[in-house]
């Protein structure tokens, strides 16, 4: 919403404040000002002056030397100009030495303005400059009397009658004004009109609110003799008012109206169009004018369209309709899409004789949805969408007719046809000042409240326990809404600041957050940087990750209205973002990149689920550069230790993760649950992402980690008796894994086994092909006593026997 401040001042005549004061105060009382443009910001020392004498420039054909009278006392200065339209006796705006103009005469605007200093033009002294309208930062759109090219001439223009030489020309042009841009919230439909904002301004500054006085209009005829109205779709049209104007004289509207419209960003067209736009700005009520001679059967019927109907709107476009769209019809055909756009077949032309004027109140939701289906948005629809007050409709209609009479645009026919079956009446809201004060933490008195409410035309009863709300304030429905009105005018800034006084509460994190934080800290301690990627991605990701066509991971929640295919499904696998980030770093030549993300996945049994998906956080670690499978494995193990998971973690290559190297991947199992996996990224996948070196991934399911994480540590005592170690050196087939060896050591080692540690692994010349050697240190300890060789030997024999059973040879 853009409005010149002068238009507000027209209805709050006593408003006397700077633009900044206005903006600040309005924002604090709830009408947020987004920005203000002062028309005079770059204008200075510009006065009304008169050219008394013109001489030729001695050295330039295109320049003339003017003697310019700058006050009524007769003082003159010399100004050299190249303008062609000057003449002796011309009254012009002139900027004096040291003054400022906004731009060049070609309409270009210079930020901060252009300073005018006295100087010499081709050797002749010039002490100022005469101005064109463009140099004042304006256009012929809002100053139509300005010449197409040249200095603005005041002579013979009635609106400038009475100006005196030396007067402030900025004032004369009405440029000590500002365009204010408001952010109006959707609940304040009344403030989409200048009247509404002016009412707020009057209340804010505690000045009288003087809205336009709308007088009765029209001749002795009756509109109902010209037109009848039938509303069939009463659910979509709560009120329809028709009036008739005859003997229309299309002409430009007066300059003051054009200027106000231009300031609102509306291009002036002619008196009739300008009046409807003007009233729409004032009251927020859109209106439409039909050429009555095109209306068949003297009849308007408001009804829904039929599926498949088409209609040509006044912009010449054919529109497809459906049964949800509300139409304005005459006795034979459709003449407009209600509230959105009129028809080409009934539009006003320059030779219109008689006009049907429509002001109606259409259902906002229907207009919004229809507009979207048709693919058409208009200023009028934008207003209707907000849900208008049907009582404003009549005021706006009468105001428009009044302007038609005032501007001599036509002869208004008396009376109106008003279909308003269920008039909206003001409603009563029970009011409790005590509750308001309790809600706000204030102690505002009843007299003060009465004052605030009066300015807002909220009618508080004698007893102070009920408020009658005018129909334009559809947002005021209960006590809390009235509390807001009190808060706004008492001042949000004056409400005290306290802390809640209720019972003290123990704040804190849920266990899941703590588990996540522990993992996060562990990853950071292992040089990993935290990354963040989107939750939605392209369904093509599954191809990139080499998932089978029927893989369950491909069942991903699908967004109906995504920003594009790349953001269209919710991730079920957490690694795409990680691989993309690794690729970004690889491409930017960042070395040794280690990243991790706490990435939510969204698991569902359908693309379009009925129930909400299983959302679970997966911790993904990824690295390129330094490190290998085993450094990734080590980091995962450290994270598990940090989570207090001291039990046995096992790793098995099930070969089931398509995006990992088939020979270099493992599922991580803890307590019989697959809590994660890790591995080297499949070279085809690395290629697909454009990662030109080996990359490793590790993934932990944080929901499962939460099941096992345990921070309830217990001290176990430090061993008092010495440990005893044995080294075993073995040769075995390559296929036998360390996991198999270790499982035997654990099973056979019994209670006294303290630890085992692989200290050598070798394949090569000294070992026959297909075989490898491995060497372990196995350590035993008895917590109760010093171990004896005999005991340890017995256990070792058991271990060795079992190892031999799976084909392990011992090296002696």
């Amino acid at each position: 919403m853009n409005t010149p401040l002068s238009w507000i001042k027209a209805y709050v005549p006593e408003l006397d404040c700077t633009v900044q004061e206005y903006c600040d105060a309005m924002t604090l009382s709830g009408t947020k000002v987004e920005g203000a443009t002062c028309f005079d910001a770059d204008l200075d020392k510009i006065i009304v002056a008169k050219i008394v004498k013109i001489d030729k420039h001695p050295d330039a054909d295109k320049l003339v030397v003017c003697q310019v009278q700058i006050n009524e006392e007769g003082d003159t200065i010399q100004i050299v100009t190249g303008a062609k339209n000057v003449f002796e006796g011309a009254i012009v705006p002139a900027v004096l030495d040291g003054g400022k103009v906004a731009g060049g005469h070609d309409g270009s605007v210079t930020a901060g303005g252009i300073k005018i200093k006295k100087g010499k033009l081709r050797g002749v002294e010039s002490n100022g400059m005469m101005c064109s309208i463009e140099e004042l930062g304006q256009t012929r759109d809002n100053y139509p009397d300005a010449p197409e090219d040249g200095i603005f001439i005041f002579n013979d223009l009635p609106q400038y009658k009475g100006i005196k030489l030396g007067d402030d020309a900025i004032e004369v042009f009405g440029l000590h004004d500002a365009n204010i841009e408001y952010e109006v919230t959707s609940n304040r439909v009344d403030c989409f009109g200048i009247i509404g904002i002016a009412r707020e301004a009057a209340a804010t500054f505690r000045k009288p609110f003087v809205p336009p006085v709308v007088k009765e209009t029209g001749n002795n005829e009756k509109a109902s003799d010209y037109i009848s109205v039938e509303v069939k779709a009463t659910d979509l049209c709560s009120r329809y008012i028709a009036r008739v104007v005859k003997n229309i004289k299309i002409a430009p509207s007066p300059e003051w109206m054009q200027r106000r419209l231009a300031a609102c960003g509306i291009r002036p067209i002619n008196n009739i169009v300008d009046i409807t736009n003007y009233v729409m700005e004032e009251y927020g009520q859109p209106m439409h004018a039909y050429d009555l001679d095109t209306i068949e059967g003297k009849k308007i019927v408001v009804d829904r369209a039929k599926d498949g109907d088409t209609f040509v709107t006044l912009d010449g476009q054919e529109r497809k309709l459906d049964a949800g769209v509300l139409m304005i019809n005459d006795g034979a055909k459709a003449v407009g899409i209600a509230g959105i756009m009129g028809g080409e077949n009934s539009k006003i032309t320059d030779d219109v004789k008689t006009m049907l004027f429509e002001a109606a109140c259409f259902d906002g939701t229907n207009i919004r949805l229809s507009g979207r289906r048709i693919g058409l948005r208009s200023d009028a629809a934008g207003k209707f969408e907000k849900g208008l007050d049907p009582n404003t409709t009549m005021e706006a209609m009468n105001r428009a007719c009044q302007l038609i009479e005032e501007l001599g645009a036509g002869e208004v026919v008396g009376g109106c046809v008003d279909v308003y079956p269920n008039p909206k009446k003001p409603w009563v809201v029970p009011f409790s000042l005590e509750k308001c004060n309790k809600l706000l933490g204030t102690n505002v008195g009843m007299d003060e409240v009465r004052e605030y409410f009066k300015r807002l035309e909220l009618d508080l009863n004698e007893a102070g326990d009920a408020v009658t709300v005018p129909t334009w304030r559809q947002d005021v429905l209960r006590n809390a809404d009235l509390a807001e009105e009190i808060a706004r005018f008492f001042g949000y800034d004056k409400i005290p600041t306290t802390l809640p006084s209720g019972e003290a509460t123990m704040g804190g994190y849920p266990f899941e957050k703590r588990v996540e934080n522990v993992a996060l800290d562990a990853a950071v301690a292992h040089s990993y940087c935290e990354s963040m990627t989107y939750s939605f991605e392209s369904p093509k990701v599954f191809d990139k990750l080499l998932y089978a066509k029927d893989a369950p991971e491909r069942v991903a929640i699908k967004i109906s209205n995504p920003l594009g295919e790349d953001f269209s499904v919710m991730r079920t696998v957490p690694v795409n973002g990680m691989l993309t980030s690794l690729a970004t770093n690889y491409n930017r030549r960042n070395k040794d990149v280690k990243l991790f993300e706490m990435a939510k996945v969204y698991l569902s049994d359908s693309e379009k689920p009925v129930e909400l998906p299983d959302e679970r956080v997966k911790m993904v670690l990824g690295c390129i550069g330094e490190g290998d499978f085993f450094t990734m494995k080590g980091t995962l193990e450290e994270i598990l230790i940090a989570e207090g998971m001291k039990g046995l973690v096992t790793y098995e290559n099930k070969g089931n993760i398509p995006f990992l190297h088939p020979g270099r991947q493992a599922v991580v199992t803890y307590g019989n649950k697959e809590i994660g996996y890790l591995g080297e990224v499949h070279p085809d996948v690395a290629d697909a992402y454009g990662i030109g070196e080996k990359a490793y991934l590790g993934v932990l399911d944080m929901k499962l980690i939460c099941e096992f994480a345990n921070f309830d540590y217990k001290y176990e005592g430090i061993a008092k008796f010495p440990a005893m170690s044995r080294d075993i050196s073995m040769v075995m087939k390559k296929e036998i894994t360390a996991g198999q060896i270790e499982e035997i050591i654990r099973k056979r080692g019994g209670k006294l086994l303290e630890s085992y540690n692989l200290f050598d692994i070798y394949e090569g010349v000294q070992i026959r092909p297909g075989y490898k050697s491995m060497a372990y240190t196995v350590t035993f300890r008895d917590k109760e006593k010093t171990l004896e060789d005999k005991t340890v030997n017995e256990i070792m024999d058991k271990i060795l026997k079992s190892l031999e059973e799976i084909g392990v040879e011992l090296r002696k």
Binding site: Y492, I495, S501, G507, Y509, N561
Partner: protein
């Protein structure tokens, strides 16, 4: 005898004084004091001394021995000290050489900002709760007083999965879950991802984070809301931070407000950072709308409360002076390592 002892003594002292390493000192010790040393020899020759002379001679030998030992030890100490000094000198290092470190990783700036925010609110007694990101339309809208076809529903550019399921557009949906699960009072804070159909640019992202706060109790006031958020702003942005509350509209709060904080770059004078305003918009807030309470079966005459929603990225970008939101999702380590 006396002369002999004196000559041994003099020789020993001169030899000790002139010796310049440990070996020589040891040799002196062995030669004079050792088992076959000169003094020992004298003691061994005692049998030739007259019996009455023996104690006297013995005492003289012992005195000589003690004197030599003292000299020896003195020299030894002196020598050790010198050796240590030499060692220290030889071991001197260039302390300006680079340190050896195991490099720490870095948390995402968003996480750092969130941790700080959560630290503040958990300190004020708020409990952190979580809620679903893929959400029932009802929880995201209707239960928050945004009925079907409400213009506010359109304004938020919602991503839909089905007619009933959306990607939540606001963390306020968590309010509803909390009210459904337990009885008031509540004091919760809920961070999380939200989604809106905004194209990606320097200041917009279709996915971002909000932090929702909700307090409901018997005597909560708008003044408490102001006080709480002013305290938050001071702890988050520095003790001199000023706050400004402006009326606003949210369907689920009444009265509603937006809070600005004084620009932490210029302190409120106006700069490029705050676009000359001196103030920066930080969050939306208000008193929980009575209808939102009623829908959950909570009597608005008994319980009142306030709610607020903070855009986390906004705080991250402002606090760390990051000029492009896309950097947060690119994960270039040269960016991440700065925090």
């Amino acid at each position: 005898m006396k002369d002999k002892l004196k000559s041994i003594m003099d020789r020993a002292i001169s030899e000790i004084a002139s010796s310049d390493d440990m070996e020589k000192l040891n040799a002196i010790k062995v030669n004079i004091l050792g088992k076959k040393g000169e003094l020992t020899d004298i003691l061994k020759g005692m049998k030739d001394v007259a019996a009455e002379e023996r104690p006297k001679v013995g005492q003289m030998v012992n005195e000589t021995r003690a004197a030599i030992e003292e000299k020896l030890n003195e020299k030894l100490e002196e020598m050790k000290k010198k050796l240590r000094e030499e060692q220290m000198k030889a071991e001197t290092i260039d302390v300006t050489l680079p340190g050896k470190k195991s490099e720490l990783g870095h948390k995402h700036p968003n996480t750092i900002a969130l941790e700080e925010l959560l630290r503040i609110f958990t300190g004020l007694g708020y409990e952190v709760v979580d809620g679903p990101e893929v959400e029932k339309d009802y929880y995201n809208f209707e239960a928050l007083n945004i009925p079907a076809n409400h213009p506010a529903k359109d304004e938020q550019d919602t991503f839909y999965v089905t007619n009933d399921i959306v990607l939540r557009t606001q963390t306020s949906s968590v309010q509803v879950h909390v009210m459904e699960k337990q009885k008031p009072p509540y004091k919760i804070i809920s961070p999380g991802r939200v989604f809106r159909a905004d194209e990606v640019d320097a200041t917009h992202s279709p996915s971002f984070h909000q932090v929702e706060g909700l307090v409901i109790d018997k005597n909560v006031t708008f003044a408490d809301l102001k006080g709480t958020l002013a305290e938050f702003a001071r702890r988050m942005f520095g003790p001199d931070t000023k706050v400004k509350f402006r009326p606003h509209h949210f369907p689920f709060t009444e009265p509603s407000a937006e809070m600005d904080v004084s620009c932490f770059k210029c302190g409120g004078k106006g700069c490029r950072f705050c676009k000359g305003e001196g103030w920066i918009e930080i969050l939306g807030c208000g008193m929980v709308h009575p209808h939102v309470l009623e829908m959950r079966g909570i009597d608005p005459d008994e319980y009142v409360g306030f709610a607020f929603g903070v855009g986390l990225e906004r705080i991250t970008l402002l606090k760390y002076e990051i000029d492009d939101m896309r950097l947060l999702y690119e994960n270039d380590v040269r960016f991440l390592k700065q925090f």
